[in-house]
Symmetry: C2
Subunit: 255 residues, 2 copies
């Protein structure tokens, strides 16, 4: 039995999210079906975490185990020919048996992409949330700096969150202007449900000068979802990268 790690990109627009659901087109379901056909085995895919319907990925990580004889380096080529065009496997590598896409993950990077043009861009509408206002980007970065560090992020997760420990560490939160619009990029050791979408909604409130950057510490301290900004829609959200412990990567490279 081999354990294989896949690095996967997808356009989330036409998927009902990552997690398998009967009768729905999902990332996990599509990967399991196609890998099942290729290997002739029943394949179970484990992802680094779910993504909601409409959320995209540039570097989602999954693993599965197989007793098949396909050389691991062939998977990206074979999968490129068999997967639909909105789901792409960038890389495949053999990993040690104690590797787990979710449990071994050390950090994740997400981007939230905004389209600031007066009218929504026709090539941006699937991947960026349209916010046709001028934003104070300096104030947004100042607010973003207040989010970094280790905090209880109860104010920044869905009120429906069932996880009890809401303490997470944000290593970096950067607001950058790009050709297509504005990007909020966040790296942390873990994210609560809707956390990046609420961070984006809150930073845009700051950009609109409805909230001051120095109010962010009080919003965090309140541990009250009502104090933060709105949950922004899924189409602007992209899972960019999932990081693993270095020895896992080394082992994978040497094996």
């Amino acid at each position: 039995m081999k354990k294989i790690k896949l690095t996967v990109a997808y356009d989330g627009t036409d998927f009902s999210g990552f997690q398998k659901q009967p009768g729905r087109r999902t990332v996990q379901g599509t990967l399991e079906e196609v890998l099942g056909r290729i290997t002739g085995e029943s394949v179970q895919i484990y992802g680094s975490g779910r993504t909601d319907a409409g959320v995209h990925a540039l570097g989602q990580v999954c693993h599965f185990t197989t007793s098949g004889l396909i050389p691991v380096e062939k998977y990206p080529y074979i999968l490129r020919r068999t997967l639909p065009r909105d789901l792409l496997v960038y890389a495949a590598e053999e990993v040690p048996h104690d590797f787990h896409a979710q449990k071994s993950a050390m950090w994740k990077t997400y981007r939230y992409q905004l389209d600031l043009q007066p009218l929504p861009g026709i090539f941006e509408r699937r991947y960026r949330t349209h916010v046709p206002v001028s934003l104070d980007i300096g104030a947004m970065q100042e607010a973003a700096n207040h989010l970094t560090g280790t905090h209880d992020f109860t104010s920044f997760c869905s009120a429906k969150t069932e996880v009890i420990d809401r303490v997470r560490t944000i290593f970096r939160c950067q607001v950058c202007q790009e050709a297509g619009g504005l990007v909020i990029e966040v790296t942390g050791n873990g994210f609560l449900y809707n956390m990046v979408r609420i961070i984006a909604g809150t930073l845009v409130e700051v950009g609109k000068k409805r909230v001051k950057p120095e109010e962010i510490p009080f919003i965090i301290q309140a541990k009250d979802r009502q104090k933060a900004g709105p949950t922004f829609p899924p189409e602007g959200l992209v899972l960019v990268q999932v990081g693993y412990h270095p020895w896992t990567d080394n082992y994978a490279r040497e094996s």
Copy 2:
């Protein structure tokens, strides 16, 4: 009766082209149906020209006549709420009765968009043709310069072209590197069937050093479709802008 000019953007991926066809989802068909519902009249849309299935537009121009009482400046707002998300009306203005979206057009600008990354970008795949090779961009621009001017473009149009006069003037043909890849932008007084897609295919042959820039004049002179490069796929092609005679625009602005 008022004549109204619309500036329209669309993501061509899920349309069977511009021109109405029974039982197909087309840009013209969708606009006529929605405008028919809004005005309560039977509306006939005239475009500046057809675009093929999969081809996009940032600034396609159409016109229609109506005896309805909706103020012209309201159309973009009303249409934004009623049109599907992949079809967007950027502007509406009243034009003189002798304006015709196709017959009054003086020039058009098209872009052909390439994705040069080793693997196809998940956000680029609908709007860029994937060409995962390194290209000599200087040579491509040199070849592009040979295309400008007034020429018989028989070598650069589909062999199925029925138009007899194939003389067109290219005012500008620019090869530019962008964040997402490479763009070939062409402005001319008119374009033959598949012309921009064959120009793109030929310039990429030059970029791959399979054709030399100084061969372009001979390819043009041959008046033989076989001498030029391949017809590149529709997804990379974008109709950017349609230009009209200044007095038409002035008249429209004053009326």
